[in-house]
Every structure is written in structure tokens, then in C-alpha cells.
Symmetry: C2
Subunit: 126 residues, 2 copies
DNA sequence: CCTTCTCAACTACACTTGTAGTAGACAATA
DNA sequence: TATTGTCTACTACAAGTGTAGTTGAGAAGG
């Protein structure tokens, strides 16, 4: 139940559910923004597998179709993703930062904002 | 040739090669810091697959064993890893930063250093 | 009511990755 | 030289994931 590692497609399914609340397979499929949209049954298989893993659940049945809902939060999933990445770097975030900066993916504004966030976070304790 | 996605174990193999230069399978295996060290043949299989993918190469033969070397740089591999992660966040690094801060993985010192790095990076242009 | 559409449920398959065993060649050593 | 250890090369296999087809049931529309 902790959080579970999500594959790319699974993450996209979750993204749809986090944004859209309770959705049918069809709705999830339509929500997936991929250039090449996966077939309905591809999404269906993935959702079923996620159900087996306990990361989504059938919320209710509407007519002849089911409506699914997320069982883990976006924050937990994102954190898991990041922790996995960090494990490649021995848990240190410095190499990560360095790369973001070098490849121009981090602006001075981003850093400023991070700093502000960090200060307020520290004020709150923990 | 670009960079290729590396799995965890593959990354550990590369880590050994990046640090140690040219190594035999045995040496790579011994270098892998995992709590539970994989069997010799597990490492061997992985290295062979990496060879097929063109990310390592047999540098030379010493006695009856081969010595392998890395064909991609640590920087390229790390960048690929990070880009893959960012693709989960729509390419934006802000959510990443926020998580790092919230989970206490980013200190004020880290941010300060990032800022410094960013400024000097910008001075150099690009 | 008959036809058509849409789902659910199941099955299938290929590829990647972690995992490791086996057979045979070769080297080192007693 | 006979024995023992170490490598290479090959084979095997299960889990996870992306991919999608088939079959049958039920809804919707004419």
C-alpha cells in the first residue's frame, strides 16, 4: 500500500484519474495525451492490472460499465518516482540539480522560488 | 548511440566501469555495492546484453578473460535518467524541486550552491 | 423485436530485466 | 601430468509491461 512503482502508462492512467476523479476505461483512454493513443483494450488491461495491485478501484457501476478511482495520491506516486531516481545517485540530490541547471531546465526563478519554499517549509518545522 | 535507458543493475555496472576504467566481469561484480550481490553469471548476462546494446565493449583480452569498458559517459546516462523522470512531470522541474524540498532532500545550502552554479553557467552563455 | 454498439472478461504474445544454471575451454597448481 | 578453479558462451525461466484480439453480454436505437 505504501505507494508502488508506476510504469509510464500506469502513471498516465493515474494522471487521468487524479485530474478527472472517477472515470470509465473509455474516459481514461481519451484522457491519455500520448501522440499515439493506446487501444482501448490496452488501457483496459493496464487498469485491470492496477486494480489487482490495489492502486485503483472500481468505485461503482454505471449502466453496463465501471467507473474507477485512484487509491494512491499524486504526491505519493511522484515521491516514489523521485526516490527511485535518487537511489541511482546514492540518494544525493546534488547531481540531479547540477544536471537540471546544465541542461537549462532550471531557471534562476525556479531556484528563487525553491528557496522561498524551503524557508517557509523550515519555518513550519519538519 | 544517443544514450539509452539503463536499468538499475545496468547502471550499477556502468558505475563500476566509470569509476574503475577497464574491468573484468569478476571485478564488476565485486564492485557492485548491493546488499545482496548478484551471482557472477547474473552480472555476466547483464554485461553481455549491454554489449549487444552497444553501451559497453570488450576492450581487450587478458589471459582467458575479457576486460570491458564503458561506451557512454556518466553524464549522458544521468541526463537520460533525469529526462525520463521529467517526462512524467510534463518536462517541468518545479514539481520535482517541490518534492525534494518537502521531503527534506534539499537543503538551503544545496539551493545556494545551485544558484551559484546557475549564475556561473549563465555567464558562460548557453 | 432485431440490429448495432459498447463493455467486460479473458487470452495471447513479444520484449525487457533480474536471476542463475550448465558445459566446455583453459589456466594454475599440486 | 592430474586436479581444481575460473571464465566464456549458452540456455532457461519468471515477472513486469506494452500491446491488442476475441467472445459474449447487455444497452440503445430504429
Amino acid at each position: 500500500m505504501a505507494s508502488a512503482r508506476l510504469s509510464k502508462l500506469e502513471f498516465q492512467v493515474m494522471e487521468a484519474l487524479w485530474s478527472g476523479g472517477e472515470l470509465s476505461i473509455r474516459e481514461i483512454q481519451e484522457e491519455i495525451p500520448a501522440r499515439r493513443t493506446p487501444a482501448y483494450t490496452t488501457v483496459q488491461t493496464t487498469v485491470y492490472r492496477m486494480e489487482a495491485k490495489g492502486i485503483v478501484r472500481r468505485a461503482r457501476k454505471v449502466g453496463n460499465f465501471h467507473v474507477f478511482e485512484a487509491l494512491i495520491t499524486r504526491e505519493a506516486a511522484q515521491r516514489r518516482l523521485i526516490d527511485d531516481l535518487l537511489s541511482y545517485f546514492g540518494g544525493r540530490s546534488q547531481p540531479l540539480m547540477a544536471h537540471l541547471i546544465e541542461s537549462g531546465k532550471l531557471s534562476l526563478g525556479d531556484v528563487k522560488e525553491a528557496e522561498k519554499l524551503l524557508r517557509s517549509h523550515r519555518r513550519k518545522g519538519e
